[in-house]
Structure formats: structure tokens, C-alpha cells
């Protein structure tokens, strides 16, 4: 070996050993006889061995022959002699010291200047954890797929870009799509683009980034082979513990039959309501007819009767609009009463206004009608008598006071003189008020001594419960 070659070899050795020590993969160098000439720190750490135990040792003899692995033998004895390099050769083995491991081996034949025999560099990467995670993920996917397939409602799992990861058997069967047709396709592109609805797209784009689920988004359309159907769509983010990726679960609930039942019920309710209201209209008309030939002092009574019939009919409409199922929202109910009274008694040009100040409270439907009639009676009295100059304000308010509810009907009008109460029509109105209050199990509080106008306060014992309280 010339001096130049020797110097070059020395420099080469220093550089090579520096590189070898810095590389995170486990490296070993073998001579042509498969004896280990050197290994790096990563190798010793990974396989819990030392330089003394390793260097000079035959690869198969290392660590009580734990490296005498058939697949490694194949690599070293049959593959390497014929090729300059091998990459990604997978070796799975039970190592007595570190347990079962999957190793990815890259091998390369290297020739130093002047050395024709060369040596073999083996880079060994422990991919056991990655392989275990992949196997776990595959098992999870299989479990997920089995769950997905057992759910009767069609559903799909989507990636961030809305491409389909998996679709349930129910989805494929109901929408007549093959599994292959779903792969890599966005949900909006399926079928005749029935799901390509801008409002749905907008909501779906928020499910993953904002973790905002979609609840009951309704789509009605003609579906090939199914006819006209109504589907309820629900979507939410799903993520696996320990896994940073998340996906969207989109479930399609066929609500066509339920929707039809609701429509039938509504149509029947409308038909009944139409007939009842027409009959009430006939009664109001009959009273109007009688009033034509009645002496003027009694006409007021006929008019009041017509107004009360109209009020009862309107209260039933309001109750159906303010209903929470088994209870009526008093705040919404009062606002509707105010709106109806303004329209019927005041008109657009009036300078009298009806305001509502109400806490969020519920009342049971049985008491809603007398409650509404009570409010109607008090507010009608205020509108008729408090404002001789046609200008003022009536405030309807409801608040919870302890275990009672206080209804206040207050106006800023001229106030009520004792002698007014004795006049016939108002007296009758007061009688009605007293009956409604008794029906509601309440009491009329004495009016405040100061202030202008008329204030009527009524306490009703626990007929109302706060909104959101579950019904018994």
C-alpha cells in the first residue's frame, strides 16, 4: 500500500466513523466472511450489547446466535453476493434480549480504495412500533367496518376533503352504489348529486375544523330506485385516542314515513281548524246580525261577546304556535297575544302600544286558555278606558316571585275611579277577571297607592315552571 493510499484510507476511516456515529439508525459493518468489524452506538443501544461483545464476532454467533435468522441468512448469503445494494428487506424475529421485533434492513457493499474484498454495511431500522400501529389501525378499521355494517341507517365516513373512506352496506344497498364507486369520491358527487346542497356543504365544512356537529339537516329529493324520499342528515367529528387524524361520520336517516305522518296530521289539524273557525265565524256573524236590530245601549255587550269568541279562537292558534309539546312558552304566548290585540283592537295608525316584559317561563296547556283570556280581558279594559285621548302604553309582564307567578297588566292612562267599577260593562269584565283568577287558583293583589294609570297584579300559585325544567 503506497503512502498516498494509506493516508487516504486514514482520512476515510475518520470521516466514515464520524458519520456512522451520528446516524440514528443501527449500523454494523461486516467483512466478506460476515464477521462484524464495527457497529455504531445506535446498534449497541437498540440491541443492548457492547463493542466488546460485538466486534470480531460472526454475525450469526452474536448474542447467543440470536442473529442467526433464516431471512437474514437469505439476505446475506443469497441476495447480497449478487447485488450491490438491497433496501427495505424486512426481518421479523424474537430476540431473547428485546423481544419480538420487526427490522427493516438496508444493505450495501462498499469497497475502500485498494481493498478489493470490500465489506457490507447493514443499516437496521426497528420498525416494530410502526408495524404494530399499522396492524392496530387495520384491526380498528375492520372493527369500525363491522360496526358500520351492522347499523341499519346508511352512513359514510369522510376525510377532510369529503372523500369517502368507507360506506356502510346499508348505504351501498339503499343508494344502489357499489363499494368501488365510492372510493376516492366526494359525497357531493354521488348519485345525481342529491347531497350537493350549498347549505349542507357549508355546514359540513365546519364539522372537522370547528368540531361543530350537524343535527337533523333535512333533504327531500327524488332518488333513483327509491322515489321521493326525505332524509335527515347528522354529522360529527370522530377521532381515535392517540391518533391525530380525525374524520367525519355522516349518517342518513330515512324519515319519509314520519314526515308523511306529520304532514297528514297537520293536514287533518288544518281541516278541523278550518271547519271550527268557519263555524265560529257563523256564530260571530249571527251575533252581528242580532246586534243590527238591538237598541244601542246593548250593542256594546254584543260586540264584547264577538271579541271574546274571536279571542278564544285566536288563543288556541297561539297555543299551538307557542307549544313546547306539553307546555306553552308564556313569553312567546304573551307577545303573540299583544300582537293579535294590537292588530284587532288598535290597527296600524294607533298611538296606543302594547309592550311585553316576560321572563322565560312555561305554563301547562290546560291553564293557557284562562290565562290568555285573563290577559285579554285586562288589556282590552285598559285599551278601551285608559286613553280618552287615544295615546298611551299598556305593559303586560310576567315574572316568577318565589313559588308564585305574578302577572301585571299596567297602563299609563287616566286611572280608574271607584265609580267606574260600578258601571255595567266594566263590572261584567271585572266579574270575568275574578272568574279566570279563581280558575287559575290565583289572587288579585291590591293596586299600588302611588303612580298614574291602572295597575292590576295577579299572583298565580306555581302554575308555571321555569323554561327547560323537565316535565314530570
Amino acid at each position: 500500500m503506497s503512502d498516498n493510499v494509506r493516508r487516504e484510507k486514514a482520512v476515510y476511516d475518520i470521516v466514515a466513523s464520524d458519520i456512522v456515529e451520528t446516524v440514528p439508525s443501527a449500523l454494523i459493518v461486516l467483512d466478506r466472511n460476515l464477521n462484524i468489524t464495527s457497529a455504531n452506538r445506535a446498534f449497541y443501544q437498540t440491541f443492548r450489547t457492547s463493542a466488546d461483545e460485538t466486534e470480531g464476532c460472526h454475525i450469526y454467533d452474536l448474542g447467543n446466535r440470536q442473529w442467526d435468522i433464516p431471512s437474514l441468512r437469505t439476505l446475506l448469503e443469497s441476495v447480497i453476493p449478487h447485488r450491490a445494494s438491497v433496501e427495505g428487506f424486512e426481518v421479523e424475529h424474537d430476540f431473547p434480549t428485546i423481544g419480538r421485533r420487526t427490522m427493516l434492513v438496508n444493505a450495501r457493499k462498499i469497497f475502500r480504495p485498494g481493498d478489493h474484498d470490500g465489506f457490507i454495511l447493514l443499516a437496521i431500522e426497528d420498525v416494530s412500533e410502526e408495524r404494530a400501529a399499522r396492524a392496530e389501525s387495520k384491526r380498528n378499521l375492520q372493527v369500525t367496518q363491522s360496526i358500520v355494517d351492522t347499523i341499519r341507517d346508511p352512513l359514510v365516513v369522510l376525510e377532510h376533503d369529503m372523500t369517502i373512506v368507507t360506506a356502510s352496506k346499508a348505504f351501498l344497498t339503499i343508494f344502489g352504489i357499489t363499494e368501488a364507486e365510492t372510493h376516492g369520491r366526494r359525497v357531493f358527487e354521488l348519485g345525481q348529486h342529491q347531497w350537493d346542497v350549498p347549505a349542507l356543504r357549508h355546514l359540513m365544512e365546519k364539522v372537522l375544523p370547528e368540531n361543530k356537529p350537524i343535527e337533523d339537516f333535512e333533504i327531500e329529493d327524488d332518488f333513483p330506485g327509491l322515489g321521493r324520499r326525505v332524509f335527515n342528515l347528522n354529522a360529527r367529528k370522530i377521532s381515535q385516542p392517540g391518533n391525530h387524524t380525525s374524520r367525519m361520520l355522516l349518517v342518513f336517516e330515512d324519515i319519509t314515513d314520519r314526515k308523511q305522518r306529520e304532514r297528514d296530521a297537520l293536514s287533518l289539524t288544518n281541516e278541523i281548524s278550518h271547519r271550527i273557525k268557519n263555524n265560529l265565524q257563523v256564530i260571530v256573524g249571527l251575533i252581528a246580525y242580532e246586534a243590527r236590530s238591538t237598541a244601542q245601549p246593548f250593542v256594546q255587550g254584543y260586540k264584547a261577546m264577538q271579541a271574546r269568541i274571536a279571542a278564544i279562537a285566536q288563543l288556541y292558534d297561539l297555543i299551538s304556535q307557542s307549544s313546547h309539546g306539553r307546555t306553552i312558552a308564556v313569553d312567546a304566548y304573551l307577545r303573540e297575544i299583544a300582537k293579535t290585540m294590537s292588530a284587532s283592537l288598535l290597527g296600524n295608525a294607533s298611538d296606543i302600544e302594547i309592550k311585553v316584559k316576560a321572563e322565560s317561563l312555561d305554563i301547562d296547556p290546560d291553564r293557557a286558555v284562562p290565562f290568555g283570556l285573563l290577559v285579554n280581558e285586562l288589556a282590552t279594559n285598559a285599551i278601551k278606558h285608559a286613553f280618552p285621548d287615544g295615546k298611551g302604553r299598556v305593559v303586560l309582564s310576567v315574572e316568577q316571585v318565589g313559588d308564585q307567578i305574578e302577572l301585571t297588566v299596567a297602563d299609563d292612562g287616566v286611572g280608574m275611579k271607584d265609580k267606574d267599577a260600578a258601571k255595567t260593562p266594566e263590572k261584567r269584565g271585572s266579574d270575568y277577571v275574578a272568574i279566570f283568577v279563581r280558575q287559575l287558583g290565583g289572587t288579585i293583589l291590591s293596586p299600588p297607592s302611588e303612580g298614574t294609570g291602572t295597575i292590576v297584579r295577579i299572583r298565580i300559585p306555581l302554575l308555571l315552571v321555569p323554561s327547560g325544567t323537565p316535565s314530570p
Binding site: 268557519n278 265565524q281 260571530v284 292588530a343
Partner: protein, 121 residues
């Protein structure tokens, strides 16, 4: 005095209403269905206001269709709807813009106020 066309399929309600409106000094015409109403609207007879039931002889929004056709024939015509059904948002969307609706049972006072509001507009 205004000229009012009443369209109501219930004869009793139609005639009682007509009588009331006449008492207030207006001139009335009446029809039991949309076709009858449209032939009146196609005649030279002056009409200020159409007062129509929404559900006409089982046609759920028959009064709404009638109102649209009537306003097409006579753009100045005022329309007052009435119905015994719940007035839904879907129903309101079918109304001719700026027109009113009176829920049944309406009192003579309510009807009179509605006429005054519409005729003054």
C-alpha cells in the same frame, strides 16, 4: 264608499258579511269561487278591494292564486285575505306584497279596521 268583492265558499258567512259591509256604506259584489270572482274582475265593473278566503272549495291556497291573478288584471286592487287555518310562513310567502290577512273568526270591528287600513294605504 268603496266597492268590495267578497269571495267566500260558505254561503252563510258570505251573505252575513256582505250585509255587514253594506251597513258601513260600501257597495258589494260576491262570488263563491275563483272563477266567478275572475269573471267579475274581467268585467268593466270598478272594484277597490278583494276580500277572499284562502281555502276556496277545498283548494288549499285557492284564494292566494286568485289574488295574484286579480292583481295582474287590476294592479291597483287591494287584497284582504281571511282563513280559518294557521297562517304559516309558507302561506305568507304566497300573499300579494303589502296586503293583509284576517284570521277567522274575525269580528265586524276587526274587518272594518282592516278595510280602513287597506283603503287608506
Amino acid at each position: 264608499m268603496a266597492v268590495i268583492l267578497i269571495v267566500e265558499d260558505d254561503m252563510f258567512i258570505r251573505e252575513l258579511t256582505e250585509m255587514l259591509i253594506q251597513d258601513w256604506g260600501h257597495l258589494t259584489f260576491s262570488a263563491g269561487d275563483a272563477d266567478e270572482a275572475l269573471s267579475l274582475l274581467r268585467s268593466p265593473q270598478h272594484i277597490d278591494l278583494l276580500f277572499t278566503d284562502i281555502n276556496l272549495k277545498g283548494v288549499v291556497l285557492g284564494g292566494c292564486d286568485l289574488a295574484h291573478q286579480s292583481v295582474k288584471l287590476r294592479p291597483q286592487l287591494r287584497v284582504l285575505y281571511t282563513t280559518g287555518n294557521f297562517v304559516t310562513d309558507g302561506m305568507k310567502a304566497e300573499f300579494v306584497e303589502g296586503m293583509h290577512c284576517l284570521r277567522k273568526p274575525y269580528t265586524p270591528n276587526q274587518l272594518q279596521h282592516s278595510f280602513e287600513d287597506l283603503l287608506a294605504a
